[in-house]
């Protein structure tokens, strides 16, 4: 085994999510930054690379240049995989080019601009046998995995109700008119696609609901809103859900919940018990019983399932956070890739990261929910 070499597209100076990806890739010492096309401006790309201690020849001026140049290097000298941290509209082309040139890919969500693009990537991944990891960070928290395992083991009985909510407040004003860079592209249909809030955070909520419950959304009825005057894309929405086992649910995603930070929360109720997890205090999982005291499961304890412990680095009482969850994605992806490079079969625990199939479901969620929001029809079947 050796360190894996990562190429990065996007993530230049001042880009928020690029630095998160680098930290996440750094944490476990399994991955090293090998090259980058950090900006579509070649000067900026080089400047960003220099600050990251890269040699200048590894700072490319475009993703095409990087992928094509690296693909011609001997295997020991070229990047092992590519991570794509650009805005949505700039996901598809580099991903497709990378897959066509034999590179594995890590990519931020939502995966593409449209369901059609997503299906093309799905097909390509299937053909090439390459790995695509989609960074739905929230499903990588240890207590989310604990919850998923308990539900899979039937600890709660048949699941009846899923309540997932993702309130943020950072778009409660028209910040895109005040020069906020994050707000600018996320509210711009040419950069973000047909949805703002639902694409950005609604997809996280939907993926978390399906991942934790083990169920699939089968119907939905959406109220999709542009609350702040002058905005071009939805900044708020409430969705009634039905799941494939008959359970019902509610999904709320909003970016105009003034004063909220990043308050993703999920509650799942079954015949025998319920549970509750809150991203802002992620090391606790509250489990509720009808005839016994509620229990607080906590990260790092021996009583947790193997999968929860596998995705934890430090003992109980030492809080882990968002960056460690993100690092779990990179670590599991890296362990999977290393296994494959060594000709071994990755374990189930290694393979536990969102894939191109989650990307397709995410894009389908966006398209259904936006269509439902515009329609007078009550229930929409969710099908891909």
């Amino acid at each position: 085994m050796r360190k894996l070499k990562m190429g990065m597209i996007g993530g230049g100076k001042n880009a928020f999510i690029g630095s998160v990806h680098r930290i996440a890739a750094n944490i476990d010492g399994l991955i090293e930054l090998h090259c980058g096309a950090f900006s579509s401006n070649p000067e900026l790309s080089k400047e960003s690379g220099r600050e990251l201690f890269l040699p200048m020849e590894k700072c490319y001026g475009s993703f095409e240049e990087m992928i094509l140049t690296e693909s011609k290097l001997p295997q020991q000298q070229r990047m092992d995989f590519l991570t794509i941290v650009t805005p949505n509209f700039a996901h598809f082309a580099p991903t497709m080019l990378a897959l066509n040139n034999g590179f594995h890919v890590v990519i931020d969500k939502p995966m593409t601009l449209s369901l059609d693009q997503a299906k093309q990537l799905q097909q390509k991944v299937k053909e090439t046998g390459l790995i695509l990891c989609l960074t739905h960070t929230y499903s990588a928290y240890p207590m989310v995995k604990q919850a998923r395992k308990m539900i899979a083991d039937n600890a709660l009985g048949k699941i009846r109700k899923v309540m997932v909510e993702y309130p943020q407040g950072w778009l409660s004003r028209l910040y895109e008119s005040e020069g906020n860079k994050q707000a600018l592209w996320r509210t711009d249909p040419t950069k973000s696609g047909i949805s703002g809030c639902m694409g950005d955070i609604g997809t996280h909520a939907a993926q978390l609901a399906e991942y934790m419950s083990g169920l699939k959304i089968s119907k939905l009825c959406a109220d999709i809103n542009i609350v702040v005057e002058g905005r071009q894309l939805d900044d708020d929405g409430n969705v009634l859900l039905k799941f494939n086992n008959g359970a019902n649910g509610v999904l709320v995603a909003t970016q105009i919940a003034t004063g909220e930070e990043n308050s993703l929360k999920i509650r799942i109720y079954g015949e025998k018990g319920g549970l509750e997890w809150h991203q802002m205090e992620p090391n606790s999982l509250l489990v509720k019983w009808p005839d016994a005291p509620a229990q607080i499961y906590r990260t790092g304890n021996d009583y947790l399932s193997n999968v929860a412990r596998f995705n934890t680095r430090i003992p109980s009482g030492h809080p882990e956070g968002y960056l460690e969850a993100f690092a779990n994605l990179y670590r599991n992806f890296a362990l999977t890739l290393s296994s494959l490079l060594q000709g071994k079969t990755p374990t189930e625990e290694m393979l536990d990261f969102p894939s191109v199939d989650d990307g397709v479901r995410g894009m389908a969620f966006i398209e259904h929910v936006i269509a439902s929001g515009k329609s007078d029809q009550k229930w929409f079947d969710f099908k891909i």
Copy 2:
């Protein structure tokens, strides 16, 4: 001023809500129990009265007997008002008879079995000028009143979103088949009317949302479910809301959220800030700002509004609860009645309790939400 004399209909031995009403009426020493028809069984009524230290002649065998007998007594010897704590189906007749005989009424929610009955009572109250207090307890908590006042004073700016939820778990099994008395009548259409969960707790959530926000529900789209097999009435529902100022909202009421106790919670977001209140920790009100730390408003402090302080009995840090909230209803009702009896005009603070109009809106909510749940039409206008 003197103690007011209360007659009680229902609330015999082992009845949960009857004892709550008596405690609430006792707390402030403004009301004394004067007579009762505690059960439709005259023996049980007398036995209940004896345990409450009533003289036997004040333990009536039926509500008709009580109302008619008391109405013939000189004013100093008869009851001043009637409190009705029977199941829903037994609200209308005694209330109408009481009003027709000149007695003021306190009554539990939902007010009647149908919107039509509710409108009849509304008309009668209007004609007689008598007072009807509907015991929506949750709107009587001091921090609910603080929130209402802050919103009315525009502290949050224009309201944009209301999230109200009321998860309980006590009907997560078919308890009505196991002899649970509360479950029996609440799931029985002949006792409860056309709705179970929405009538029992959905109405509380809707009333709280309107009371706190100062808005009115104008449209709704409901998913109404019978989750537990064999049950006759809804035990779960999720409702999309629109309010008269354009705000959107979500209302969840469920009695199959296994492990939940009585977890009513409301969040309201405006242009300038948001707030959050949770019934199970009712002495805190969390107020959130976009550019400043969130604040925890707490019962009993001098910085609160007059109305919050008027509805509090003890200093900060000494927790108040459900019974004190319930007692606020009785106290405000009693102060109003005493003022009227003395020929004075009650203050706005005294008059701050739910009225027959809330009862009409509650019944309309039930009828709309059940109709919407059965319909393929997406949005229903909410109108009375």
Copy 3:
């Protein structure tokens, strides 16, 4: 059984604790206010009585007049017991007079001005067989009783450590110089005795620690402070404790913890587990285990011990508070008294309220802790 008749000494208009006692006595409908000497000013006493709907002849001008007059009435017409809600310095005389005239007594803590007075009352209670209930409210919360029972049942194993703290902030300024009535007498040695903070709230903390743990303080080492310049009595203190089974502990009581309300909290650790209770969120009891998730025991649930359920009035999820805890004292006292009046033996659950012995221990605590605070000797034996 009949309603018990209560006489009150102190508690006139604007007195905080008098109104708390009346509410607590009212709640369960077992007690009626019969007479009072509400103020040492006869006019004020009558005015207070009128507002409480008492006949004028039952509003006495002094406690001596009330006790002597009532004692001459036939048993059916006189008060059954006396409640004393005056400042500390005015506890001893009316209590002794009441006991000498055959009246049971409810009295606020600390019981007297000195340990010597306390022992005289203890001796008198022993001689007369009358009942004295000391209103250590905090030990009357249902979850405190649940904790006590679990510890008594050895659920935590041998107790090793007790951490009790009672931070308040209401004396963080020299409020007694600003006309605050509560501050005035509580910081005045002629009214309060040799201690301010330790007498007022340190005694609550010590009683709670002993009640919940079932242990007795055997040694202490105190740091007692006057933090606010110009104050006459201690407003802050930290005490190291040893208990009779070898456990150690810490007691912090302070009234200069700026911004704190009434934040009494206790944690007890044994060989097998630990628990934590906080007065400001009193319906939860956190129980911690070394090899399993922590549990949240909640008021009103069937899984609680009999004694916890006996001291609860409403179902789980309906918060109870300070007034209900206070009412538990009055109710248990009233049930005990009613049993005795009917010639029955009170049950253990009825007898579960603090007695004259707690009063003696409280006064001994004050005297030891103040002496230790002044001494260079490290450990003081706590003995009575």
Copy 4:
């Protein structure tokens, strides 16, 4: 600027804290692992190094070999600094050797086995001008720095009281007799020195109290206990404190608080306000006021001080934890070192990490507190 090269002493396979140091050093991409003497067993050292992708020639068999070999390499090829993650008894010799050979040092606390050793290191650091960073992790959390800044800016007024507590439960049994490796050395006087609990976590609590308050402990009175039978060193203690400005305090550190994880908590009260921080939910800082609602300051918000924002990597609502706090130490140390290597003066923010002086105070704290625990004298002056 370039990546700094780190040599590691200790931290071989299965060592908990070694992996924490490596993650912390990795996170920001400023440091690379260059060499190590991971174990006193040369085979184990090489095996550990291989797993960390080090070339075999950089896996040394002893710290002496590593320091002396590296010191002879040209500056560009040798390590820049040394990190020492061995048990206490193995801190002094490698640190002194490193300093004598011109290497900067990062070292875990407590710094040495005795105050005398600590003073020798302090003297050596002074002579050489090298940098020593002591990893008191808890002072590196952003909200701790926010609190320190607010106190320094007099937001709370003069500080009056400091309550710091550090309850853990992991030594509630005699785990050292059950083969627990961490327990074995931490309870062994030859490895840990004269103190167990006070040395391991009491020092963290004392350092945090002084760092946050800006005060210095001036007197103490300690109750030091061996609670679990058969243990050789203290596992529990309670300490009364006086600070140099007259404030009082309490420090509790215990490892027998059964069921507690790593529950470090601090509260500080001043004339004008108070604050509270809890390590297990580290992204919130509760600030309390006498006449206004309490405020919740949260990591990542623009309203925070520069120093809090400088020590944060991600936006509000994305929880940071223990590893990020640890990484702040390494990052600030690395920025300081890089500045010096480039001939620049480090900023105040870069220099914000615990130094050899904290190490000396920590050892003095241990020696005073253990001496006080054995003495009948009440107060000990704390002086170095």
